[in-house]
């Protein structure tokens, strides 16, 4: 049944519906309402699991390392400085193949101190072995927590549900809260055959030989690849149960579009307004919404693009010394095509600067009318 929820509360309710066993988290703006709601649910008995109120984010992921090794469904949530403080533990729990799910509420990275949203915090974790799914609405946040557990527990890899600080986290909008019984069907109790058993003397994460390590990483790559299919199947099952479909990439009005905006997160929602507006002005505009960033949907992208197409990639992040991160990964994925499409990268909204339909339209026109730079990043500052 529908309720008006802020994004953070949608996430907390997703965690409760998933019958999560252990939550361990530390407060940070703009994530605190997740913690506060989980605390209230814990104290009111509605949340059956244990909520460990740890002393830092590094310890939050360490507690998840412990609880997930015991085979318990584990969750944490953080943002920017806190996510970066966990970095060592992100590498670790991925290498330990633990299906932990975490919400990262996007917030730009200091210095200087900065409270508002951009994606550099989550995207700069791209090499840690975590799956990453991006949300454009509070409904997607709740649903993505359930999808993330389903995929993570199938391929034994941790997954991040990522959404915009304030723009989604603190914004109230109607959300359909799924029925617990249906969620139990979608997400049965976790049975992890590799979990620690108190009666079996085994060590976890002991020092291997280089050869053994190489093979572990190759197996991880194999499972990361498998996750693409597992996600799509989970998306179909989700639709059967809850009526909403989730896919790795989601085109909008691209059938006959020559120039397409490639956008993720809340700006992908605003981009529909821009595309509709451009269509009204006679422009053959389309939108490709990126939901999955890890595993990167390279094959899906290669199948989607057509020669002669122009992609205007909007990055609300920046890898200093190279390029916007979605743009860079898009180019790498499409490189091997016979006739790869033109890809232009735009840097917009860093530090929480608003990404408006006007700015998106200007990005689209610059690309469509050949004013954008094909090699270097195009810095697009919003006028307001």
């Amino acid at each position: 049944m529908k309720k008006v929820l802020m994004g953070n509360h949608a996430a907390a309710i997703g965690v409760k519906l998933a019958r999560t066993d252990v939550v361990s988290a530390y407060p940070i703006t703009p994530q605190t309402q997740i913690i506060e709601m989980l605390n209230d649910l814990d104290e009111s008995g509605e949340f059956g699991g244990r909520f460990i109120k740890v002393e830092s984010e590094h310890s939050a992921m360490a507690a998840c390392l412990g609880s997930a090794t015991a085979g318990a469904r584990s969750f944490t949530a953080t943002s920017s400085q806190g996510l970066a403080y966990m970095h060592e533990m992100l590498h670790w729990v991925a290498g330990a193949r633990l299906p932990i799910v975490m919400c990262d509420v996007n917030r730009a990275m200091g210095a200087p101190w900065i409270l508002w949203t951009d994606q550099t915090d989550s995207l700069s974790q791209r090499d840690t072995g975590w799956m990453q799914f991006y949300c454009s609405s509070n409904q997607e946040i709740l649903d993505s927590v359930l999808m993330a557990y389903r995929v993570a527990e199938e391929v034994l890899l941790p997954a991040m549900v990522v959404y915009d600080g304030f723009t989604l986290s603190h914004t109230y909008e109607p959300v359909d809260v799924p029925d617990q019984k249906l969620v139990d069907k979608f997400l049965p109790k976790l049975k992890n055959e590799y979990a620690l058993r108190a009666d079996k003397a085994e060590a976890f994460s002991a020092l291997p030989s280089p050869k053994e390590y190489y093979r572990l990483r190759a197996r991880m790559d194999h499972d990361m690849g498998r996750a693409l299919k597992v996600f799509e199947e989970a998306g179909k099952t989700f639709e059967e149960l809850f009526g909403r479909r989730y896919e790795l990439i989601e085109p909008y009005r691209c059938e006959d579009a020559d120039t397409i905006l490639v956008v993720s997160g809340a700006p992908a929602s605003t981009a529909r307004v821009a595309v509709d507006q451009l269509r009204k002005e006679g422009c053959r505009a389309g939108l490709l919404k990126m939901r999955a960033f890890r595993p990167f949907p390279a094959q899906a992208l290669r199948d989607f693009v057509r020669p002669g197409m122009r992609l205007a990639v909007v990055d609300r992040n920046y890898s200093q010394g190279h390029h916007g991160i979605f743009c860079e990964e898009m180019k790498s994925a499409l490189y091997s095509l016979e006739k790869p499409p033109e890809v232009y990268g735009f840097i917009a909204g860093l530090g929480g600067g608003d990404i408006t339909p006007e700015l998106l339209s200007e990005i689209w026109r610059d690309t469509d009318e050949g004013r954008a730079d094909a090699a270097a990043p195009n810095w697009m500052e919003d006028a307001r």
Partner: protein, 291 residues
């Protein structure tokens, strides 16, 4: 074969581990496991024991062991306990087995958090008084004036050893105890007792280390005893704040007897030894006042 000691015979530590000859930390594990028994899970951060537990596919102890990053032992153990309880296992003891660096320094934030939450885990710190696994650098557990690879000056380590037991006391936890392999019966007794207490328990094991303390491998047990007999290391228990000395020392041996057998103190002047004696005397004054 009745052994004339209260120590249980079964071994949960197997031979063949990679410890240096005469390793105090290995004796510590051997006795701890005798006190803890099988229904135990170990959580070990980066330290010598990361290596002694054995490279994959081996394990040198008879209980499950979860390796974890250097700063996270107490937090990982908190999560492991919560995970086991969530799976319906309330019995298994979750025991952290960490070095002094992982306890006094990089792991202090997680240790203090777990103690503050009174997590139902036993935290054991085997204290060899420096970072041995990375080549004997000074830690917060290194005694004043001791030589290490990062305190090679004439005065050795210029700062006093952190009083980690008092730091734990400031967290109002149910049980704190000190043990050392030179007194295995006392050690096994305390581990058995700690097993039965609910909440956050802390046991510190003084563990002589031949390469680190620069003493002959044969002297490990002797030094462990001398530490107690000279009062340099007091055996005591603090239960919910009540302090009790375990060894009634009629007369303490001079600290020189303990220090002279260690190469890390070879550079000490007589004044230095006098100073260290004064420090030990002052500490015992406090113990007696509390005990």
């Amino acid at each position: 074969m009745t052994v004339k000691t209260s120590i249980p015979e079964p071994e949960l530590l197997s031979a063949g581990h990679l410890a240096c000859q005469g390793c105090g930390a290995t004796l510590a594990m051997r006795y701890a496991l005798k006190g803890l028994g099988k229904e135990t899970v170990l959580v070990t951060p980066a330290c010598c024991w990361t290596i002694l537990a054995g490279p994959a596919p081996r394990l040198s102890v008879g209980v499950p062991l979860l390796h974890c990053p250097f700063a996270t032992a107490a937090a990982t153990a908190s999560g492991l306990k919560a995970g086991l309880v969530a799976q319906g296992d309330e019995k298994t003891q979750v025991v952290v087995w960490a070095g002094d660096g992982g306890t006094f320094d990089i792991g202090l934030q997680a240790l203090s958090g777990a103690a503050d939450r009174n997590e139902d885990i036993l935290y054991v710190c085997y204290d060899n008084e420096a970072y041995m696994n990375t080549g004997i650098q000074r830690s917060g557990g290194t005694p004043q004036k001791a030589w290490t690879m990062t305190t090679q000056g004439q005065k050795g380590s210029e700062r006093p050893k952190k009083d980690i037991d008092s730091i734990l006391e400031a967290h109002h936890i149910p049980y704190i105890a000190t043990v050392t392999p030179g007194y295995p019966e006392d050690m096994v007794r305390k581990f058995k007792k700690a097993r039965g207490i609910k909440g956050f328990r802390f046991i510190r094991v003084l563990s002589p280390c031949p390469p680190g303390w620069k003493h002959d491998s044969s002297a490990t047990v002797d030094l462990s005893k001398l530490a107690v007999q000279t009062g340099s290391f007091a055996l005591y228990e603090i239960e919910n704040g009540d302090f009790r000395l375990n060894t009634k020392l009629a007369k303490r041996k001079p600290v020189g007897e303990y220090l002279s057998k260690q190469g890390r103190f070879r550079h000490l002047s007589e004044d230095d030894v006098k100073e260290m004696q004064a420090t030990v005397d002052a500490a015992w004054e406090k113990y007696e006042k509390r005990g």
